[in-house]
Symmetry: C5
Subunit: 365 residues, 5 copies
């Protein structure tokens, strides 16, 4: 669902692989520390109120003038953060603090909120899951929420927020009647709803792997299990701090995020709590997979050993008897007896039947 | 005991499978997101005070007039939440906030309380356990507690609250003498009492499975154990937030739930604490099942290996001796001796006896 | 030590088996929900101060008059709670709240304290351990502590409090010089001291079982280990809430439990803390038993496998050699050589010796 | 290092074995509940200030007069607590609360602090480790810190505090210039420093056992591991409450332990924190030993199985071939061919080489 | 990256091996308790403001005069703490508290902050990881932050802070425009950034070892895993208390660390939080390695057993048949039949094929 994949593929490499580029650089330097990219950046501006709707794609950042207009809500949707100059221009045009710009260009941030006089800055993470590589990819979403505008800056990739766009365009729900604080809520809520989708996908995969594990515990499955365990651990990273962000929204006095929309943010907060509870269960289930794996392995070994034991204990005594009458002693009276051979064969069959019953009783057959 | 089963059957699928239907929809949309249903909705209205009792089944929601009468307590019992229009009518008739209506139609909510001026809204979950599918099913109960009425809205299914109905009808206990707050208490208390029944059933099943596990650790048992572990984890989901709800009832100033009935809610609170403590013990016991399983498996393997070892180490040396005298060397003096054969047989018997004693000492036989 | 055994025998069944009798009953109903009993109830009344001592067995509850006398401390010791009428009479005679009476008749309560104007009501649990059934039994002790009297109501069974009785009769220690608060302390302290005895017994048994486990890890031992684990878990149930009770005694303003005896209750509190710390260690040790069990099992399997391997790898090559010279080829020059047989035997002995040395080096013999 | 060993030898028995002696005795009875002892008690009195030093061994407690002298610091060092009369005399002479005397005679106390008007009473535990029995022994140290004197009462045994004695005698460091609060600090600090030694010894032993475990996982090692685990658990018992004691010293207004020496107590507090952190790591490492043990066991089994498998799979096919040509069919053309025997032998060698390569590839050889 | 290696090599020995040298010494003694060293100590002094820059290497501590000059920031960088006299001189020259000097000479301190009137003293730890010995080495950094100077004292070894030096010299970033508080921030930030590098290296190694573990679970790997587990545990030791230090900087009123640079310290605080979160994940992953190890071991055993079972169950029945026709009974009609031998061979081949199919179905081949 998200454009850039594999960012969280190996849980451990993902934890740290992007940070170290910047060690030793002076703070305050605008350097893009994400993966390399070449797509052009893109700006979409949507201007609306209850009765008015206008959307255009912007080439030069200077064209964004309308957002100062207090009578409409302006949503400026910027994709692509890897061009330093572009971000600097955006910062100058919209008068954004330089430390915020730094954060925007560094897609390894954890979710956080920073309240300024003119706007509130929120970082959150969009997640998507790729079931084939067992990997969660994340994408950093930056929200700058002003009195009558919301600037959304994301790493380049798929347009995540099309449903919101459509809802505005088609006047679905309350959104056209509300202020910028509601728009911000709608964007955050969409991201959080997507978390449920990701968790659901992972939980589906855990179930699939559980089946596989019981029937065929191979080292490949073990790797998958380890990967899943890691992914579930990593999921806490964007979700738990986001709850803290929303908690701060609820507790602090941020005028544009207060009032009648408080209720909506409380709803998001409840969802995040539910998510964290689910993550916990998921974590325990993913760990349980390992137990399942190791006892499936044991069970298979048991099966193998049973076959060996049945076959060996069945034939070894019989072979011994055959061995006895294969000895070359001059004087072995049994060998002379004409019905010696059939008797020995019958004894062998008898022993075989006894064995068979014994195995049946033991439930090894 | 509850009408709709299997909703929580697989712990993981249950965690999330109902939520994702709604991703991308604007908040405020009245959409039923539970399982599909066709039963008609049903309304029962019971009007009572110490000396008066009247019960009738209502066809049209407009017939509910008496609930505004402050001299009696009115209990309106609605079953079925899947008809959007019906819920909207109920909302309009009883003047219920539209966000509450949304919550009512979404049976995936966690327990919560919301205090409005005119009424208090409480969500809780009825649980039932199906020992055959190892599944806990839940059903969402919505309580709207007003000054002189309680509206109870549940998903369609069995009438859970018959005992309360009978107690009112037969004037058992205090209930006819008390206000709507006590009726709400009685309803909540019944649900909580049922939790004990569910936990007891699960704990019985854990015991049964423990027996089974020790005697016959098959992969099927492992699946059952995993399921049980998941169920016990899931049980925390409706119970822990309900405790928070009751805590809020106790701490906050809600007139209809205060005063002399405070004591009763404190009792419910104590029960919930006891339940959570029990859940903890249950969780540890369910995890212990896995340990039991894996060592029962080991024990079985031990048994198999012992048989193999006893048989193999018994016969292999004897077969070797037979092999020696099966060689075709021209000059093998033993073969010529008349009593060679009996001597070798005797040696074999002697070795056999020694082996037998060795195994006895090792306690392998 | 306690009269009624086996109440906590199976940890899981014990957790819940008594509660469900009462589901659906209206609160406020006086119903005995403990195990069935037929012993008569018994009342002993002891009246004492520094210089005075009088004890009598009471037939009719109406005979208890002296307890209103403020110059002596009156200890009324009631055994047996299963007769509803009797408890009701006691309640009326001593003017006890009906909810307290309900709690008295329900021996599944957790320890708690309730402060009324005229008296303080404390529930605690007497424990005893039966090493043969690996079961902890509990017995509910109800204390009603008034200005100059203590009413102690316990389930019928052994007289737990004989040591206190003797101390009063024989004027040992401070007890005859102190008020009812001290008597209550003495009773609680005795119960808490008994907890140490129970924990000590369990810890002894853990040691015994550890020995057994290492030498002989059978499924029966596994069952014992599971039982012990459960018991240790259950022990927290009466002890942790009792600490909260004592904490409340220390923090709240209850005149009869305050003043110079505060120090004694602090001592009980310290003991309970020590107990909880010990329980924690005990829990970890009981869990450790399982690890010990599973590696003792592994060790035994190792032993079995070693024997198999030694015997098999010793004889299989030798048998092969014998097999070669058992072949019936016309032209096998070795067979013709007179010293062929002794040479082959010598080679076998040599191989055998090499094997033996190999096993010795590997420390398998 | 400490005189009396083995008190904590078996972790579980140590937890409780001393307490139960006293169950049922009235509180306030002076009874020695430690191990039986016969050594005489011993009193040393050291009197010093910056310019003065005097030390003498005291026979009768009445000789201690100088401690009331405010111009010198008096350190009274008493060894032996098992003589009831002696402790009573000490109590009377120094005017010590009778409950404190009780605590002194009961060496099973946890560390605690009690502040009285005239003095402060601190209990702490001296520890020593016996690497041969894998046992930590503890010894109870009682400190009574007055305005110008410190009374130190320990169970009889080695003189633990010689370094402090020497420091005073030889005027090392600040001690001769400071008041009684500093002396108390010096004594406590010495004890805490010894904790580091004990932890270091245990950690050394964990390392040794880890080596042993990997090379030779026997049941004896398992017992050692269990013992070590228990010991590490027990170490928390004297250390964690001591931190609370020092915390109370730091927070409360105790004049003799305040002022410029606050800094020193803060240092002790930091050390205790470091110790508790180390204990945690130690605990995890000791638990890790068990994992190491169980996988070393598995590894050994693997080795055994590999040998069996290699030998068996090598010779079984060859033996089968030999078996074929050992059959006595009249018509077996191969047997008649002169080069039949060498061909079969060559085939066997070929199969052997193939096997060998197979095992090499599998890395089983 | 750091000069002195192996200090934390074995997790357990590292925990305690440096402390015990000092047991029994009076506090306040200046004794170097780190490892033995012989390198000379070295002092570099850098004096700068926005327009001025001067750097010189100092021979005698008396030459440092400029640091009192308030118009420039003076950074005095001292390497080497093992010469007692030198440290004493430094202390006298810069007027540093003697307890601070003691802490400087004891490189076993945990990070801490101490606020004095004239300066603030911060201890932190530089870390480096040696992937070959699997060891983290630490080096103690002491910061004394005054109004217009920062004295940095580290154990001798590599110059850790060259990047800061270069940034000042080359006027990169803000540093030349800021006060001493910013210099201190830059130094701390560099250390914290290095923590990310260390964690990244360890996480890389965990991945490498995971691969190795799955393919080849040897006891050497187990040792490596244990070492890594220990290292990850130890990493918490310098990081968690540093967070507390920064928290104190943020909360307390330290003028030189307040004001506009608060923001920078908050950034460091966020990084430390991220690190601690990562450590947690790392710890779980390192523990997971053990699980992986033990199931890789199991898997290998499974493989071995499968080969044994396949070979043994394949040939044992065939060998038995050969054994039968190797018996020497006079009357064995089958032996006389000319096509007896080919028939038996065919039967054997048939059995072989059946077996093969059976193994294929079982997926053992």
């Amino acid at each position: 669902m998200l454009g850039d994949t594999n960012q969280l593929k190996n849980p451990l490499s993902n934890l740290f692989n992007r940070y170290s580029h910047k060690v030793g650089l002076p703070p305050g330097t605008l350097v893009y520390v994400g993966d390399e990219r070449t797509e052009p950046t893109q700006i979409t501006q949507i201007d609306y109120n209850e009765s008015y709707y206008h959307e255009n794609i912007i080439e030069m950042i200077e064209e964004c003038e309308t957002f100062k207009n207090a009578e409409t809500v302006t949503w400026i949707y910027i994709q692509g953060i890897h061009e330093e100059n572009f971000i600097r221009e955006v910062g100058e045009h919209f008068d954004i603090n330089s430390l915020v710009l730094e954060d925007i260009m560094n897609p390894t941030q954890l979710p956080k909120i920073e309240v300024f006089d003119e706007y509130t800055y929120i970082i959150l993470k969009g997640l998507s899951y790729n079931p084939e590589t067992y990997s969660v990819s994340d994408i950093q979403i930056n929200l700058i929420i002003g009195q009558s505008h919301v600037i959304l800056i994301q790493e380049s990739g798929e347009k995540l927020f099309k449903p919101i766009h459509d809802r505005i365009e088609n006047q679905q729900g309350r959104i056209r009647m509300m202020q910028s604080g509601y728009l911000a809520y709608a964007l955050i809520d969409l991201i959080v709803d997507n978390y449920f989708v990701v968790i659901e996908q992972i939980s589906d995969q855990i179930e699939t792997i559980e089946e596989e594990t019981i029937t065929n515990p191979t080292p490949e499955i073990l790797k998958k299990i380890n990967n899943l365990r890691g992914q579930v651990l990593l999921l806490r990273k964007p979700i738990i701090p986001l709850r803290d962000v929303i908690e701060e929204v609820l507790s602090e006095e941020i005028p544009i995020l207060k009032g009648d929309i408080d209720l909506y943010y409380k709803d998001v907060y409840d969802h995040l709590n539910q998510l964290i509870h689910s993550l916990d269960t998921l974590r325990i289930c993913a760990s349980g997979l390992f137990d399942t794996y190791s006892s499936a392995l044991n069970h298979k070994m048991n099966e193998v050993m049973k076959v060996l034991t049945v076959v060996a204990t069945f034939f070894i005594p019989l072979t011994f008897i055959a061995g006895i009458y294969g000895m070359n002693f001059k004087v072995m009276p049994e060998l002379e007896i004409p019905w010696g051979y059939p008797v020995v064969l019958s004894v062998m069959v008898l022993i075989g039947i006894t064995m068979f019953i014994f195995f049946k009783v033991k439930k090894w057959l």
